[in-house]
Subunit: 313 residues, 2 copies
Protein backbone atom coordinates (compact mmCIF):
# COMPACT_ATOMS: atom_id res chain seq x y z
CA UNK A 1 0.00 0.00 0.00
CA UNK A 2 1.33 3.38 -1.03
CA UNK A 3 0.58 5.89 1.75
CA UNK A 4 0.31 9.42 0.42
CA UNK A 5 0.35 12.89 1.99
CA UNK A 6 -1.98 14.47 -0.57
CA UNK A 7 -4.21 13.25 -3.37
CA UNK A 8 -6.28 14.97 -6.03
CA UNK A 9 -9.06 12.89 -7.56
CA UNK A 10 -11.75 13.38 -10.17
CA UNK A 11 -15.18 11.77 -10.51
CA UNK A 12 -17.17 12.19 -13.72
CA UNK A 13 -20.67 13.29 -14.60
CA UNK A 14 -23.22 10.52 -15.12
CA UNK A 15 -26.49 9.86 -16.90
CA UNK A 16 -29.01 7.95 -14.79
CA UNK A 17 -32.22 6.16 -15.82
CA UNK A 18 -31.03 5.83 -19.44
CA UNK A 19 -34.60 5.92 -20.79
CA UNK A 20 -35.70 2.47 -19.66
CA UNK A 21 -33.87 1.79 -16.37
CA UNK A 22 -35.52 4.20 -13.94
CA UNK A 23 -33.53 4.07 -10.68
CA UNK A 24 -31.49 1.04 -11.83
CA UNK A 25 -29.30 2.09 -14.76
CA UNK A 26 -26.63 4.73 -15.24
CA UNK A 27 -23.40 5.44 -17.10
CA UNK A 28 -20.44 7.79 -16.83
CA UNK A 29 -19.16 9.99 -19.64
CA UNK A 30 -16.16 12.21 -20.32
CA UNK A 31 -16.80 15.89 -19.75
CA UNK A 32 -17.61 17.69 -16.55
CA UNK A 33 -16.94 16.26 -13.09
CA UNK A 34 -15.87 17.14 -9.58
CA UNK A 35 -12.40 17.26 -8.07
CA UNK A 36 -11.50 16.58 -4.47
CA UNK A 37 -8.11 17.31 -2.90
CA UNK A 38 -7.35 15.55 0.38
CA UNK A 39 -4.20 16.12 2.45
CA UNK A 40 -2.95 15.11 5.84
CA UNK A 41 -2.95 17.72 8.60
CA UNK A 42 -1.80 17.79 12.19
CA UNK A 43 -5.26 18.55 13.60
CA UNK A 44 -7.38 15.46 14.38
CA UNK A 45 -10.44 14.76 12.27
CA UNK A 46 -11.67 15.63 8.77
CA UNK A 47 -12.08 19.33 7.92
CA UNK A 48 -13.48 20.73 4.68
CA UNK A 49 -11.39 23.85 4.09
CA UNK A 50 -12.53 25.03 0.67
CA UNK A 51 -15.45 24.54 -1.68
CA UNK A 52 -15.19 26.24 -5.07
CA UNK A 53 -17.41 26.37 -8.14
CA UNK A 54 -20.75 26.37 -6.36
CA UNK A 55 -22.03 29.62 -7.87
CA UNK A 56 -24.95 30.94 -5.85
CA UNK A 57 -25.42 27.72 -4.01
CA UNK A 58 -23.96 27.20 -0.55
CA UNK A 59 -22.73 23.72 0.32
CA UNK A 60 -22.17 22.81 3.97
CA UNK A 61 -18.58 22.74 5.21
CA UNK A 62 -19.45 20.33 8.03
CA UNK A 63 -18.29 16.90 6.81
CA UNK A 64 -21.34 15.20 8.33
CA UNK A 65 -23.64 17.28 6.12
CA UNK A 66 -21.54 17.34 2.96
CA UNK A 67 -21.82 14.54 0.39
CA UNK A 68 -18.08 14.30 -0.24
CA UNK A 69 -17.30 14.69 3.46
CA UNK A 70 -19.89 12.15 4.62
CA UNK A 71 -18.76 9.59 2.04
CA UNK A 72 -15.14 9.96 3.17
CA UNK A 73 -16.13 9.84 6.86
CA UNK A 74 -17.99 6.58 6.32
CA UNK A 75 -14.84 4.95 5.01
CA UNK A 76 -12.62 6.48 7.73
CA UNK A 77 -14.95 5.13 10.42
CA UNK A 78 -15.04 1.73 8.75
CA UNK A 79 -11.23 1.69 8.90
CA UNK A 80 -11.09 3.05 12.47
CA UNK A 81 -9.37 6.19 11.15
CA UNK A 82 -11.94 8.83 11.99
CA UNK A 83 -9.39 10.76 14.12
CA UNK A 84 -6.87 11.02 11.30
CA UNK A 85 -6.06 14.67 10.60
CA UNK A 86 -7.30 15.50 7.07
CA UNK A 87 -8.11 18.61 5.07
CA UNK A 88 -10.46 18.36 2.11
CA UNK A 89 -10.95 20.77 -0.79
CA UNK A 90 -13.95 20.30 -3.04
CA UNK A 91 -13.88 21.81 -6.51
CA UNK A 92 -17.30 21.58 -8.13
CA UNK A 93 -16.72 21.57 -11.85
CA UNK A 94 -20.19 20.70 -12.98
CA UNK A 95 -23.55 22.41 -12.64
CA UNK A 96 -26.05 21.73 -9.88
CA UNK A 97 -29.53 20.56 -10.77
CA UNK A 98 -28.40 19.55 -14.23
CA UNK A 99 -29.47 15.91 -14.05
CA UNK A 100 -25.83 14.91 -14.54
CA UNK A 101 -25.16 13.57 -11.05
CA UNK A 102 -23.37 16.54 -9.48
CA UNK A 103 -23.78 15.37 -5.89
CA UNK A 104 -22.97 11.80 -6.93
CA UNK A 105 -19.66 12.94 -8.43
CA UNK A 106 -18.77 14.71 -5.17
CA UNK A 107 -19.63 11.65 -3.08
CA UNK A 108 -17.66 9.33 -5.34
CA UNK A 109 -14.68 11.69 -5.36
CA UNK A 110 -14.80 12.13 -1.56
CA UNK A 111 -14.60 8.45 -0.65
CA UNK A 112 -12.20 7.65 -3.49
CA UNK A 113 -9.84 10.40 -2.30
CA UNK A 114 -9.83 9.06 1.26
CA UNK A 115 -9.21 5.49 0.13
CA UNK A 116 -6.42 6.57 -2.25
CA UNK A 117 -4.70 8.68 0.42
CA UNK A 118 -4.69 5.66 2.74
CA UNK A 119 -3.05 3.45 0.13
CA UNK A 120 -6.24 1.95 -1.31
CA UNK A 121 -7.05 -0.54 1.45
CA UNK A 122 -10.47 -1.18 -0.15
CA UNK A 123 -11.35 -1.95 -3.76
CA UNK A 124 -13.45 0.54 -5.67
CA UNK A 125 -16.39 -1.87 -5.48
CA UNK A 126 -16.06 -1.94 -1.69
CA UNK A 127 -16.24 1.87 -1.59
CA UNK A 128 -19.69 1.94 -3.18
CA UNK A 129 -21.79 1.79 0.02
CA UNK A 130 -19.93 4.79 1.46
CA UNK A 131 -20.36 6.75 -1.77
CA UNK A 132 -24.09 5.95 -1.91
CA UNK A 133 -24.51 6.99 1.73
CA UNK A 134 -22.71 10.24 0.90
CA UNK A 135 -25.04 11.08 -1.94
CA UNK A 136 -28.01 10.19 0.25
CA UNK A 137 -27.12 13.25 2.38
CA UNK A 138 -27.94 15.46 -0.60
CA UNK A 139 -30.64 13.41 -2.26
CA UNK A 140 -32.48 11.66 0.52
CA UNK A 141 -32.48 8.46 -1.55
CA UNK A 142 -30.18 5.43 -1.30
CA UNK A 143 -29.62 5.03 -5.03
CA UNK A 144 -26.52 3.97 -6.93
CA UNK A 145 -27.64 4.88 -10.45
CA UNK A 146 -25.49 8.04 -10.55
CA UNK A 147 -22.93 7.43 -7.84
CA UNK A 148 -22.22 3.86 -8.99
CA UNK A 149 -20.97 4.82 -12.47
CA UNK A 150 -19.33 8.02 -11.08
CA UNK A 151 -17.18 5.76 -8.89
CA UNK A 152 -16.82 2.59 -10.96
CA UNK A 153 -17.22 3.91 -14.50
CA UNK A 154 -18.96 2.19 -17.37
CA UNK A 155 -22.64 1.31 -17.72
CA UNK A 156 -23.94 0.10 -14.39
CA UNK A 157 -27.05 -2.00 -13.80
CA UNK A 158 -28.48 -2.14 -10.30
CA UNK A 159 -30.72 -5.12 -9.55
CA UNK A 160 -31.53 -3.71 -6.14
CA UNK A 161 -30.39 -0.44 -4.60
CA UNK A 162 -31.00 -1.58 -1.01
CA UNK A 163 -28.40 -4.35 -1.24
CA UNK A 164 -26.29 -2.60 -3.93
CA UNK A 165 -26.53 -5.65 -6.18
CA UNK A 166 -24.72 -3.88 -9.04
CA UNK A 167 -23.37 -5.21 -12.33
CA UNK A 168 -21.21 -3.61 -14.98
CA UNK A 169 -22.62 -4.06 -18.47
CA UNK A 170 -20.46 -4.46 -21.56
CA UNK A 171 -19.74 -1.27 -23.51
CA UNK A 172 -19.83 -1.73 -27.31
CA UNK A 173 -16.71 -0.24 -28.84
CA UNK A 174 -18.40 2.39 -31.00
CA UNK A 175 -20.95 3.49 -28.40
CA UNK A 176 -20.78 7.22 -27.78
CA UNK A 177 -22.98 9.65 -25.97
CA UNK A 178 -24.11 13.18 -26.71
CA UNK A 179 -25.26 15.14 -23.68
CA UNK A 180 -26.70 18.64 -23.61
CA UNK A 181 -27.29 20.61 -20.43
CA UNK A 182 -29.75 23.44 -21.06
CA UNK A 183 -29.48 26.42 -18.73
CA UNK A 184 -32.91 26.07 -17.24
CA UNK A 185 -33.92 24.95 -13.79
CA UNK A 186 -35.86 21.76 -13.08
CA UNK A 187 -36.32 21.30 -9.36
CA UNK A 188 -35.87 17.70 -8.29
CA UNK A 189 -38.99 17.97 -6.19
CA UNK A 190 -40.98 18.99 -9.29
CA UNK A 191 -39.44 16.17 -11.32
CA UNK A 192 -40.58 13.78 -8.60
CA UNK A 193 -43.97 15.37 -8.10
CA UNK A 194 -45.04 14.86 -11.72
CA UNK A 195 -44.47 11.10 -11.51
CA UNK A 196 -47.50 8.95 -10.91
CA UNK A 197 -47.08 6.14 -8.37
CA UNK A 198 -49.17 3.93 -10.64
CA UNK A 199 -48.73 2.60 -14.14
CA UNK A 200 -50.53 0.28 -16.53
CA UNK A 201 -49.51 -3.36 -16.79
CA UNK A 202 -49.17 -2.85 -20.56
CA UNK A 203 -46.67 -0.03 -19.96
CA UNK A 204 -44.73 -2.27 -17.61
CA UNK A 205 -44.55 -5.03 -20.23
CA UNK A 206 -43.39 -2.61 -22.92
CA UNK A 207 -40.74 -1.01 -20.69
CA UNK A 208 -39.57 -4.44 -19.50
CA UNK A 209 -39.18 -5.49 -23.12
CA UNK A 210 -37.11 -2.41 -23.87
CA UNK A 211 -34.93 -2.73 -20.78
CA UNK A 212 -34.16 -6.36 -21.57
CA UNK A 213 -33.48 -5.47 -25.19
CA UNK A 214 -31.07 -2.70 -24.18
CA UNK A 215 -29.06 -5.14 -22.05
CA UNK A 216 -29.07 -7.75 -24.84
CA UNK A 217 -28.03 -5.07 -27.33
CA UNK A 218 -25.05 -4.11 -25.16
CA UNK A 219 -23.96 -7.75 -24.82
CA UNK A 220 -24.44 -8.45 -28.53
CA UNK A 221 -23.00 -5.19 -29.93
CA UNK A 222 -26.37 -4.78 -31.62
CA UNK A 223 -26.69 -1.03 -32.18
CA UNK A 224 -30.04 -1.31 -33.97
CA UNK A 225 -31.49 -3.19 -31.01
CA UNK A 226 -30.08 -0.59 -28.60
CA UNK A 227 -31.85 2.02 -30.69
CA UNK A 228 -35.19 0.21 -30.67
CA UNK A 229 -34.85 -0.32 -26.91
CA UNK A 230 -34.34 3.34 -26.01
CA UNK A 231 -38.03 4.18 -25.72
CA UNK A 232 -39.28 5.20 -22.29
CA UNK A 233 -43.06 4.87 -22.15
CA UNK A 234 -43.35 5.59 -18.41
CA UNK A 235 -41.12 8.35 -17.03
CA UNK A 236 -40.21 10.52 -20.03
CA UNK A 237 -43.81 11.23 -21.07
CA UNK A 238 -44.47 12.58 -17.57
CA UNK A 239 -41.30 14.66 -17.23
CA UNK A 240 -40.94 16.01 -20.78
CA UNK A 241 -43.27 18.92 -19.96
CA UNK A 242 -40.71 20.26 -17.46
CA UNK A 243 -38.09 20.79 -20.20
CA UNK A 244 -38.96 23.48 -22.75
CA UNK A 245 -38.32 22.24 -26.27
CA UNK A 246 -37.65 18.65 -25.20
CA UNK A 247 -39.66 17.05 -28.02
CA UNK A 248 -37.78 19.06 -30.66
CA UNK A 249 -34.40 18.43 -29.05
CA UNK A 250 -35.07 14.70 -28.95
CA UNK A 251 -36.37 14.69 -32.52
CA UNK A 252 -33.25 16.55 -33.70
CA UNK A 253 -31.05 13.88 -32.10
CA UNK A 254 -32.93 11.03 -33.78
CA UNK A 255 -33.08 12.83 -37.13
CA UNK A 256 -29.33 13.35 -37.01
CA UNK A 257 -28.61 9.68 -36.48
CA UNK A 258 -28.73 9.05 -32.73
CA UNK A 259 -29.76 5.54 -31.69
CA UNK A 260 -32.14 7.07 -29.18
CA UNK A 261 -32.46 9.98 -26.78
CA UNK A 262 -34.15 10.75 -23.48
CA UNK A 263 -33.90 12.79 -20.28
CA UNK A 264 -30.73 12.43 -18.20
CA UNK A 265 -31.74 11.60 -14.63
CA UNK A 266 -34.44 14.00 -13.47
CA UNK A 267 -33.44 16.50 -16.18
CA UNK A 268 -33.13 19.08 -17.59
CA UNK A 269 -30.12 17.55 -19.41
CA UNK A 270 -30.87 15.42 -22.44
CA UNK A 271 -28.68 12.53 -23.60
CA UNK A 272 -28.49 10.60 -26.85
CA UNK A 273 -26.68 7.33 -27.45
CA UNK A 274 -24.90 7.22 -30.79
CA UNK A 275 -22.79 4.90 -32.87
CA UNK A 276 -19.42 6.55 -33.46
CA UNK A 277 -17.74 9.75 -32.31
CA UNK A 278 -18.64 11.81 -35.38
CA UNK A 279 -22.34 11.14 -34.96
CA UNK A 280 -22.22 11.95 -31.25
CA UNK A 281 -20.47 15.29 -31.90
CA UNK A 282 -22.93 16.18 -34.60
CA UNK A 283 -25.93 15.17 -32.48
CA UNK A 284 -24.69 17.23 -29.51
CA UNK A 285 -24.41 20.27 -31.78
CA UNK A 286 -27.89 19.72 -33.22
CA UNK A 287 -29.42 19.33 -29.77
CA UNK A 288 -27.80 22.60 -28.68
CA UNK A 289 -29.22 24.31 -31.78
CA UNK A 290 -32.66 22.90 -31.04
CA UNK A 291 -32.60 24.33 -27.51
CA UNK A 292 -31.39 27.63 -28.93
CA UNK A 293 -34.56 27.90 -31.01
CA UNK A 294 -36.38 28.10 -27.68
CA UNK A 295 -33.99 30.81 -26.51
CA UNK A 296 -32.20 28.38 -24.23
CA UNK A 297 -28.40 28.36 -24.04
CA UNK A 298 -26.77 25.04 -23.29
CA UNK A 299 -23.51 23.13 -22.78
CA UNK A 300 -22.90 20.16 -25.05
CA UNK A 301 -20.65 17.14 -24.62
CA UNK A 302 -19.82 14.21 -26.88
CA UNK A 303 -17.73 11.31 -25.64
CA UNK A 304 -17.38 7.56 -25.39
CA UNK A 305 -18.70 5.93 -22.22
CA UNK A 306 -16.25 6.72 -19.41
CA UNK A 307 -15.19 3.27 -18.24
CA UNK A 308 -12.75 4.51 -15.61
CA UNK A 309 -15.04 6.33 -13.17
CA UNK A 310 -13.22 8.06 -10.31
CA UNK A 311 -9.48 8.50 -10.95
CA UNK A 312 -6.45 9.98 -9.24
CA UNK A 313 -5.24 13.05 -11.13
CA UNK B 1 -34.13 -28.58 -51.02
CA UNK B 2 -35.19 -32.08 -50.07
CA UNK B 3 -38.84 -32.52 -51.04
CA UNK B 4 -40.56 -35.17 -48.92
CA UNK B 5 -43.77 -37.15 -49.16
CA UNK B 6 -44.34 -37.39 -45.43
CA UNK B 7 -42.87 -35.82 -42.31
CA UNK B 8 -43.36 -36.36 -38.59
CA UNK B 9 -42.31 -33.48 -36.37
CA UNK B 10 -42.29 -32.75 -32.67
CA UNK B 11 -42.55 -29.42 -30.81
CA UNK B 12 -41.81 -29.26 -27.09
CA UNK B 13 -43.58 -27.92 -24.03
CA UNK B 14 -42.57 -24.45 -22.88
CA UNK B 15 -42.55 -22.30 -19.78
CA UNK B 16 -43.64 -18.72 -20.39
CA UNK B 17 -43.26 -15.62 -18.19
CA UNK B 18 -40.36 -17.19 -16.26
CA UNK B 19 -41.20 -15.25 -13.10
CA UNK B 20 -40.05 -11.81 -14.24
CA UNK B 21 -40.77 -11.68 -17.99
CA UNK B 22 -44.55 -11.55 -18.19
CA UNK B 23 -45.51 -11.88 -21.88
CA UNK B 24 -41.89 -11.45 -23.04
CA UNK B 25 -39.88 -14.46 -21.85
CA UNK B 26 -40.17 -18.22 -22.34
CA UNK B 27 -38.08 -21.37 -22.68
CA UNK B 28 -38.50 -24.90 -24.00
CA UNK B 29 -37.72 -28.04 -22.01
CA UNK B 30 -37.45 -31.77 -22.69
CA UNK B 31 -40.53 -33.72 -21.74
CA UNK B 32 -44.00 -33.56 -23.17
CA UNK B 33 -44.79 -32.09 -26.57
CA UNK B 34 -46.99 -32.42 -29.63
CA UNK B 35 -46.43 -34.42 -32.81
CA UNK B 36 -47.72 -33.54 -36.24
CA UNK B 37 -47.60 -35.87 -39.24
CA UNK B 38 -48.03 -34.28 -42.65
CA UNK B 39 -48.22 -36.19 -45.91
CA UNK B 40 -49.01 -35.41 -49.51
CA UNK B 41 -52.39 -36.47 -50.87
CA UNK B 42 -54.06 -36.30 -54.25
CA UNK B 43 -56.93 -34.12 -53.05
CA UNK B 44 -56.29 -30.38 -53.23
CA UNK B 45 -55.93 -28.40 -50.01
CA UNK B 46 -55.00 -29.13 -46.40
CA UNK B 47 -57.15 -31.67 -44.49
CA UNK B 48 -56.79 -32.57 -40.83
CA UNK B 49 -57.60 -36.29 -40.76
CA UNK B 50 -56.85 -37.27 -37.18
CA UNK B 51 -56.44 -35.63 -33.81
CA UNK B 52 -55.43 -37.92 -30.92
CA UNK B 53 -54.70 -37.38 -27.26
CA UNK B 54 -57.25 -34.68 -26.61
CA UNK B 55 -59.10 -36.47 -23.81
CA UNK B 56 -62.48 -34.87 -23.23
CA UNK B 57 -61.63 -31.82 -25.24
CA UNK B 58 -62.70 -31.51 -28.86
CA UNK B 59 -60.34 -29.66 -31.19
CA UNK B 60 -61.64 -28.40 -34.54
CA UNK B 61 -60.73 -30.43 -37.64
CA UNK B 62 -61.19 -27.40 -39.90
CA UNK B 63 -57.67 -26.15 -40.63
CA UNK B 64 -58.80 -22.52 -40.43
CA UNK B 65 -59.91 -23.01 -36.82
CA UNK B 66 -57.13 -25.32 -35.68
CA UNK B 67 -53.85 -23.91 -34.32
CA UNK B 68 -51.64 -26.42 -36.15
CA UNK B 69 -53.75 -26.18 -39.29
CA UNK B 70 -53.91 -22.39 -39.33
CA UNK B 71 -50.16 -22.07 -38.77
CA UNK B 72 -49.46 -24.45 -41.67
CA UNK B 73 -52.00 -22.69 -43.90
CA UNK B 74 -50.33 -19.34 -43.28
CA UNK B 75 -47.06 -20.68 -44.61
CA UNK B 76 -48.71 -22.47 -47.56
CA UNK B 77 -50.45 -19.24 -48.58
CA UNK B 78 -47.23 -17.29 -48.21
CA UNK B 79 -45.59 -19.77 -50.59
CA UNK B 80 -48.55 -19.81 -52.98
CA UNK B 81 -49.07 -23.49 -52.15
CA UNK B 82 -52.50 -23.38 -50.53
CA UNK B 83 -53.91 -25.81 -53.11
CA UNK B 84 -51.29 -28.46 -52.43
CA UNK B 85 -52.95 -31.75 -51.38
CA UNK B 86 -51.96 -32.43 -47.77
CA UNK B 87 -53.20 -34.59 -44.89
CA UNK B 88 -52.33 -33.65 -41.32
CA UNK B 89 -52.44 -35.80 -38.20
CA UNK B 90 -52.14 -34.08 -34.85
CA UNK B 91 -51.06 -36.14 -31.85
CA UNK B 92 -51.47 -34.13 -28.65
CA UNK B 93 -48.98 -35.53 -26.17
CA UNK B 94 -49.29 -32.93 -23.50
CA UNK B 95 -52.13 -31.78 -21.29
CA UNK B 96 -54.43 -28.86 -22.09
CA UNK B 97 -54.69 -26.01 -19.66
CA UNK B 98 -51.45 -27.00 -17.98
CA UNK B 99 -49.62 -23.73 -18.49
CA UNK B 100 -47.03 -25.59 -20.57
CA UNK B 101 -47.90 -24.16 -23.96
CA UNK B 102 -50.02 -26.96 -25.40
CA UNK B 103 -51.54 -24.91 -28.20
CA UNK B 104 -48.18 -23.26 -28.85
CA UNK B 105 -46.58 -26.67 -29.39
CA UNK B 106 -49.30 -27.58 -31.91
CA UNK B 107 -48.89 -24.32 -33.80
CA UNK B 108 -45.09 -24.65 -33.91
CA UNK B 109 -45.34 -28.29 -35.03
CA UNK B 110 -47.94 -27.47 -37.69
CA UNK B 111 -45.94 -24.82 -39.50
CA UNK B 112 -42.63 -26.63 -39.01
CA UNK B 113 -44.12 -29.80 -40.56
CA UNK B 114 -45.33 -27.89 -43.62
CA UNK B 115 -42.00 -26.15 -44.12
CA UNK B 116 -40.06 -29.40 -43.69
CA UNK B 117 -42.28 -31.29 -46.15
CA UNK B 118 -41.64 -28.57 -48.74
CA UNK B 119 -37.87 -28.86 -48.35
CA UNK B 120 -37.45 -26.08 -45.76
CA UNK B 121 -37.80 -23.06 -48.06
CA UNK B 122 -37.96 -20.77 -44.99
CA UNK B 123 -35.69 -20.64 -41.96
CA UNK B 124 -37.15 -21.47 -38.57
CA UNK B 125 -36.98 -17.80 -37.62
CA UNK B 126 -39.01 -16.93 -40.71
CA UNK B 127 -41.71 -19.40 -39.62
CA UNK B 128 -42.36 -17.58 -36.36
CA UNK B 129 -45.10 -15.19 -37.57
CA UNK B 130 -47.13 -18.15 -38.94
CA UNK B 131 -46.72 -20.08 -35.69
CA UNK B 132 -47.76 -17.07 -33.60
CA UNK B 133 -50.80 -16.51 -35.82
CA UNK B 134 -51.67 -20.19 -35.37
CA UNK B 135 -51.58 -19.99 -31.60
CA UNK B 136 -53.62 -16.80 -31.74
CA UNK B 137 -56.54 -18.93 -33.04
CA UNK B 138 -56.60 -20.73 -29.68
CA UNK B 139 -55.47 -17.94 -27.39
CA UNK B 140 -56.78 -14.75 -28.88
CA UNK B 141 -53.41 -13.13 -28.20
CA UNK B 142 -50.52 -12.48 -30.58
CA UNK B 143 -47.77 -13.61 -28.20
CA UNK B 144 -44.54 -15.46 -28.91
CA UNK B 145 -43.56 -16.30 -25.32
CA UNK B 146 -44.66 -19.95 -25.67
CA UNK B 147 -44.70 -20.50 -29.41
CA UNK B 148 -41.33 -18.84 -29.93
CA UNK B 149 -39.34 -21.29 -27.80
CA UNK B 150 -41.56 -24.21 -28.94
CA UNK B 151 -40.39 -23.48 -32.49
CA UNK B 152 -36.88 -22.10 -32.01
CA UNK B 153 -35.85 -23.73 -28.74
CA UNK B 154 -33.77 -22.17 -25.98
CA UNK B 155 -34.63 -19.19 -23.79
CA UNK B 156 -36.37 -16.56 -25.86
CA UNK B 157 -36.70 -12.89 -25.03
CA UNK B 158 -39.33 -10.85 -26.87
CA UNK B 159 -38.78 -7.10 -26.92
CA UNK B 160 -42.11 -6.60 -28.63
CA UNK B 161 -44.71 -9.18 -29.58
CA UNK B 162 -46.35 -7.01 -32.23
CA UNK B 163 -43.21 -6.90 -34.37
CA UNK B 164 -41.83 -10.26 -33.12
CA UNK B 165 -38.57 -8.61 -32.11
CA UNK B 166 -37.24 -11.83 -30.54
CA UNK B 167 -33.78 -12.72 -29.21
CA UNK B 168 -32.32 -16.01 -28.06
CA UNK B 169 -30.58 -15.70 -24.71
CA UNK B 170 -27.49 -17.72 -23.77
CA UNK B 171 -28.15 -20.95 -21.86
CA UNK B 172 -25.63 -21.62 -19.06
CA UNK B 173 -24.32 -25.16 -19.35
CA UNK B 174 -25.55 -26.45 -16.00
CA UNK B 175 -28.96 -24.78 -16.14
CA UNK B 176 -31.75 -27.29 -15.68
CA UNK B 177 -35.44 -27.01 -15.07
CA UNK B 178 -37.85 -28.91 -12.88
CA UNK B 179 -41.49 -28.67 -13.93
CA UNK B 180 -44.50 -30.11 -12.16
CA UNK B 181 -47.97 -30.18 -13.66
CA UNK B 182 -50.60 -30.67 -10.95
CA UNK B 183 -53.86 -32.27 -12.07
CA UNK B 184 -56.04 -29.31 -11.23
CA UNK B 185 -57.80 -26.91 -13.54
CA UNK B 186 -56.96 -23.24 -13.79
CA UNK B 187 -59.06 -21.57 -16.45
CA UNK B 188 -57.08 -19.09 -18.52
CA UNK B 189 -59.92 -16.61 -18.17
CA UNK B 190 -59.63 -16.84 -14.38
CA UNK B 191 -55.86 -16.48 -14.54
CA UNK B 192 -56.38 -13.33 -16.57
CA UNK B 193 -59.28 -12.01 -14.49
CA UNK B 194 -57.23 -11.94 -11.26
CA UNK B 195 -54.59 -9.67 -12.79
CA UNK B 196 -54.86 -5.98 -12.04
CA UNK B 197 -54.31 -3.62 -14.98
CA UNK B 198 -52.41 -1.32 -12.64
CA UNK B 199 -49.25 -1.67 -10.63
CA UNK B 200 -47.09 0.49 -8.38
CA UNK B 201 -44.03 2.25 -9.78
CA UNK B 202 -41.99 0.63 -6.99
CA UNK B 203 -43.12 -2.84 -8.17
CA UNK B 204 -42.15 -1.94 -11.72
CA UNK B 205 -38.66 -0.86 -10.60
CA UNK B 206 -38.16 -4.04 -8.60
CA UNK B 207 -39.38 -6.31 -11.42
CA UNK B 208 -37.27 -4.39 -13.95
CA UNK B 209 -34.23 -4.93 -11.73
CA UNK B 210 -34.93 -8.64 -11.56
CA UNK B 211 -35.58 -9.03 -15.29
CA UNK B 212 -32.34 -7.27 -16.14
CA UNK B 213 -30.47 -9.33 -13.55
CA UNK B 214 -31.86 -12.57 -15.00
CA UNK B 215 -30.59 -11.64 -18.47
CA UNK B 216 -27.19 -10.60 -17.07
CA UNK B 217 -27.04 -13.84 -15.07
CA UNK B 218 -27.65 -15.88 -18.24
CA UNK B 219 -24.93 -14.00 -20.14
CA UNK B 220 -22.46 -14.23 -17.24
CA UNK B 221 -23.16 -17.83 -16.14
CA UNK B 222 -23.93 -16.33 -12.74
CA UNK B 223 -26.26 -18.86 -11.09
CA UNK B 224 -26.51 -16.92 -7.83
CA UNK B 225 -27.64 -13.84 -9.72
CA UNK B 226 -30.19 -15.90 -11.67
CA UNK B 227 -31.48 -17.11 -8.32
CA UNK B 228 -31.78 -13.62 -6.84
CA UNK B 229 -33.51 -12.44 -10.03
CA UNK B 230 -36.27 -15.07 -10.01
CA UNK B 231 -38.64 -13.11 -7.80
CA UNK B 232 -41.92 -12.03 -9.37
CA UNK B 233 -43.47 -9.22 -7.32
CA UNK B 234 -46.32 -8.50 -9.76
CA UNK B 235 -47.98 -11.52 -11.37
CA UNK B 236 -47.24 -14.46 -9.06
CA UNK B 237 -48.70 -12.82 -5.92
CA UNK B 238 -51.98 -12.35 -7.80
CA UNK B 239 -52.15 -15.81 -9.37
CA UNK B 240 -50.78 -17.98 -6.55
CA UNK B 241 -54.26 -18.20 -4.98
CA UNK B 242 -55.50 -20.16 -8.02
CA UNK B 243 -53.06 -23.02 -7.36
CA UNK B 244 -53.72 -25.02 -4.18
CA UNK B 245 -50.53 -25.55 -2.25
CA UNK B 246 -48.46 -23.22 -4.43
CA UNK B 247 -46.61 -21.54 -1.55
CA UNK B 248 -45.53 -24.92 -0.12
CA UNK B 249 -44.57 -26.30 -3.53
CA UNK B 250 -42.43 -23.24 -4.23
CA UNK B 251 -40.89 -23.36 -0.77
CA UNK B 252 -40.04 -27.04 -1.22
CA UNK B 253 -38.22 -26.24 -4.46
CA UNK B 254 -36.15 -23.47 -2.86
CA UNK B 255 -35.42 -25.55 0.24
CA UNK B 256 -34.17 -28.38 -1.94
CA UNK B 257 -31.73 -26.16 -3.77
CA UNK B 258 -33.58 -24.62 -6.71
CA UNK B 259 -32.30 -21.22 -7.85
CA UNK B 260 -35.89 -19.99 -7.90
CA UNK B 261 -39.41 -21.13 -8.73
CA UNK B 262 -42.64 -19.62 -9.99
CA UNK B 263 -45.79 -20.32 -12.00
CA UNK B 264 -45.38 -21.62 -15.56
CA UNK B 265 -47.41 -19.41 -17.89
CA UNK B 266 -50.89 -18.92 -16.49
CA UNK B 267 -50.52 -22.08 -14.35
CA UNK B 268 -51.24 -24.44 -12.77
CA UNK B 269 -47.80 -25.91 -13.59
CA UNK B 270 -44.91 -24.76 -11.45
CA UNK B 271 -41.31 -24.55 -12.67
CA UNK B 272 -38.02 -24.24 -10.87
CA UNK B 273 -34.66 -23.35 -12.38
CA UNK B 274 -31.81 -25.39 -10.94
CA UNK B 275 -28.06 -25.76 -11.28
CA UNK B 276 -27.33 -29.31 -12.37
CA UNK B 277 -29.40 -32.32 -13.36
CA UNK B 278 -29.35 -34.00 -9.96
CA UNK B 279 -30.79 -30.94 -8.24
CA UNK B 280 -33.49 -30.57 -10.90
CA UNK B 281 -34.56 -34.22 -10.52
CA UNK B 282 -34.64 -33.93 -6.78
CA UNK B 283 -36.56 -30.65 -6.88
CA UNK B 284 -39.16 -32.08 -9.29
CA UNK B 285 -39.72 -35.00 -6.91
CA UNK B 286 -40.05 -32.71 -3.90
CA UNK B 287 -42.51 -30.45 -5.69
CA UNK B 288 -44.62 -33.50 -6.60
CA UNK B 289 -44.57 -34.57 -2.94
CA UNK B 290 -45.59 -31.10 -1.83
CA UNK B 291 -48.63 -31.15 -4.15
CA UNK B 292 -49.45 -34.64 -2.88
CA UNK B 293 -49.81 -33.27 0.66
CA UNK B 294 -52.73 -31.27 -0.74
CA UNK B 295 -54.18 -34.44 -2.29
CA UNK B 296 -53.11 -33.32 -5.75
CA UNK B 297 -51.50 -35.79 -8.16
CA UNK B 298 -49.02 -34.40 -10.62
CA UNK B 299 -46.57 -35.11 -13.45
CA UNK B 300 -42.98 -34.08 -12.93
CA UNK B 301 -40.20 -33.38 -15.41
CA UNK B 302 -36.53 -32.53 -15.00
CA UNK B 303 -34.39 -31.57 -17.99
CA UNK B 304 -31.89 -29.13 -19.42
CA UNK B 305 -33.26 -26.26 -21.46
CA UNK B 306 -34.36 -27.66 -24.83
CA UNK B 307 -32.29 -25.67 -27.28
CA UNK B 308 -33.60 -27.45 -30.39
CA UNK B 309 -37.27 -26.50 -30.36
CA UNK B 310 -39.31 -28.12 -33.13
CA UNK B 311 -37.55 -31.09 -34.75
CA UNK B 312 -38.18 -33.68 -37.45
CA UNK B 313 -38.57 -37.11 -35.85
Amino acid sequence: MKILNEVRVFAPATVANVAVGFDILGFAFHGPGDEVVLRRSTQAGLKITTITGTGDKKLPLEPERNTAGFAALGLLRHLGQEDLGLEMEIHKKMPFGSGLGSSAASAAAGVFAANTLLGSPLSKEELLPFAVAGEEIADGAYHADNVGPALLGGILFIRENKTLDVHKLPVPEELHVAVVYPHIEVLTKDARAVLSNQLELSQHIQQNGNLGALIIGLYENNYDLIGRALEDVIIEPQRAQLISGFADVKASAITQGALGASISGAGPSVFALCRGEATAKHVAQEMKSAFQKYGIMSDGYASPINTAGAIQM
